[in-house]
Amino acid sequence: MRLPITLIAGALLAGLFVAAALISFVWTPYGVEALTISARLKPPGADYWLGTDHFGRDVASMLMVGARTSIAVAVVAVGMGLVLGVPLGLVAAATRGSLLDEVVMRGNDLVFAFPALVIAILITAVFGPSALNAILAIGIFNTPVFARVTRGAALSLWTLDYIRAARVAGKGRARISVEHILPNIANLLIVQGTIQFSLGILAEAGLSYVGLGAQPPTPSWGRMLAEAQTMISFAPHLAIFPGLAIVLTVLGLNLMGDGLRDVLDPRLRRAR
């Protein structure tokens, strides 16, 4: 089967940033905490590929380490959403119409009513700003997304005959949820996970931008943008490169999500 072009392009783009993040563990062009005042605000060139900032830090190195922060925060946050949201969705679907279903889903509505940023401000107000709190905020925000997707997909499966056959075979709701429902909605969760991952990166950038994410000196894309703001007229590269990094990563992940859906959803596969 031929893979859709969106999947290949998206995976390449996203893979580029994952590779940059991984390489940054062993090598960066310059140390991200090395302040070289003599070489500050250099435009992109041979020595500094993407230029330097007002402290003389190498932008390329900061982007590489920043990718690490973004990806780490997004992965953990999406993982948290999956781990909390999917079981909630499965439980709600298995007990459809019951009080438990109502409690779970209305609880989700409640969390959904607050944007990630508001949750982050709340958490920060209590615990102070840090990458961990950004993860918590984005993770909490992701939970109802996965719960809803899971419940919706599971509900349509619960009406199928093979679920009834499993009930005739004496299996309980929990067992059916794990054995029959979960494997059959895995596709959907993978696709949703990819898209939530891109949203997580965007949310992390947004939180860092307003100072609620990773704290200095840990580089992060959102804070690089915020710091570049005052210098945009004479050092535009400081805003352009982190901005591009965010846009391209999110674009890559979204393309990848679309492509994965095409590959994993048999109905769309036939239509193509």
Binding site: D161, Y162, R164, A165, A166, A169, G170, N184
Partner: protein, 593 residues
Amino acid sequence: MNSRRAAGATSLLSVSGLSLAIGGAPILDDVGFALAPGEVFGLVGESGSGKSMTALALMGLAPRGAVVSGRAAMGGRDLLALPERALCDIRGREIGMIFQEPMTALNPVQTIGDQVAETLVVHGAATRAEARRAARDRLDRVGLTAERFPLGRYPHELSGGQRQRVCIALAVALRPKLLIADEPTTALDVTTQAQILRLLKGLVDEEGMALMLITHDLAVVAGIADHVAVMQAGRVVEAGATEALFRTRAHAYTRALFAASAHRPARRGVGVGEETGAAPAPRGGRRSARVAPEARPRRDGGAVRALPGVPPGKTEEGAGQATPPLLEVVDAVRTYPLPRPAPFAPRGLLPAVAGVSFAVHRGESVGLVGESGCGKSTLTRAILGLDPLQGGAIRLNGRAVGPRMDNALRAAVQVVFQDPYGSFNPRWRVARLVAEPFHLLPAPPPDARDRVAAALEAVGLTPADMDKFIHEFSGGQRQRIAIARALITRPELIVLDEAVSALDVRVRAQVLDLLADLQDRLGLSYLFISHDLAVVRAITDRVLVMRAGRIVEAGATEAVFAAPQDAYTRELLAATPVIPAGWMGGDDGRVVV
């Protein structure tokens, strides 16, 4: 209903050499037929034979990538050569079409009046106001009167049969010359089917429209069509005037199709207490020949012979010598709350099952017949122990059945569902699918794989099929796998919930044979739930007729079919399409229903 006019003489539509291929695979091969105005043309065949594709090709609606060749002359034009713009004009105006599934053929957010009127406006035939008047007129014509069905009704407020009427009104809104009906009654109950067929016939007779009726049901065609073409694998294998074709059956495939639709599996006699079926069959051969005379004097309290017939009065224990029944349903009641008519008004209650009593004895096959909404699905779920009852009791081997029954009891009753495509987890291999009911045993048996292999062999598959996925099997094979799954715990009762309804006639005949054979060999009892009277007649000893949550008639199958006592049973039987008895002569005199 003989042909009124020789097709082709004053032909309305003349198709010749119609071929269609998708991605190099031939779907239709040199299909040809002709229709005259005011004629009903039946196109019959099994699923995948290309009946629907023929209609879609004529309408210019063949799937993208399809390569179509041939000629379809209508009014001096070749439909197959016309550009999309011209076809748009023809669709609706000259050719109307209705589909199988009335539940999804209408737009749920538009009123029925708007949908009918829209057709007229789109074709520039009328202004809004005129269109609404015309829509009213057309809805009246299809039997949806203004008092009960104002134009402002939404599709969800209508039943399946009423929606199909709206679809017909849509299709004939512009008084097309040709109406193509693709399995228009397959999704409907028999009594509704009879009404819809009568309506279609009336439209043909009164408006001079030609009707192309696509169906798998030979009996439907027999009752309405002037001409018939039989399709197999994309070709028309036999065509001609209906009666002549039914009488002669020149082509081997046609003969096979007819034989399958009239097929009755050979079943051995059933004796109460006969556990294994190992005893030599005292009265072999076809039931039709022997049950009727024996069972007819039902009023003698069922003591005629051991066949445990339930007299209509529901007094079950007439035959005192019988062993206790395997399954006993006593005054089962299940109601569902209806939506409140007003915010604080009391909820109404829908009695889905309202005091049903019957019994199934060992080795017996009992049919439960009724139309959609009669409560048979609710009753089935209760018997399977999936849903609780609100009143009465269900006992299996004397023990109470319900959602909390233990696994050992559950293992004694298994089920085969209707849909061969929805009955299996697509991500499991066959071995795991068939072995799923082993969950009911305290521990998986050590010879689990051998037992799965044996079950697969029992249903006519091979042990090598164990490692395949379900999508590698056809509908009939899947139903065999479903039966294997039901057999794996060695149950005493198998509930067959419309188990052969989705299958083609030839496959259905094979599966019925298999069921009869398994019953003989394993001493199984069947509760056969179906809306298809022909199938129930072929495979059951006793039949229960259910309507609105109650059993209105019960008795030995042949007796009920031969001399129905209840008005509703008579109505059901009268509505069932039949092939006239004389037409089927030559095949040892058997008839469909």
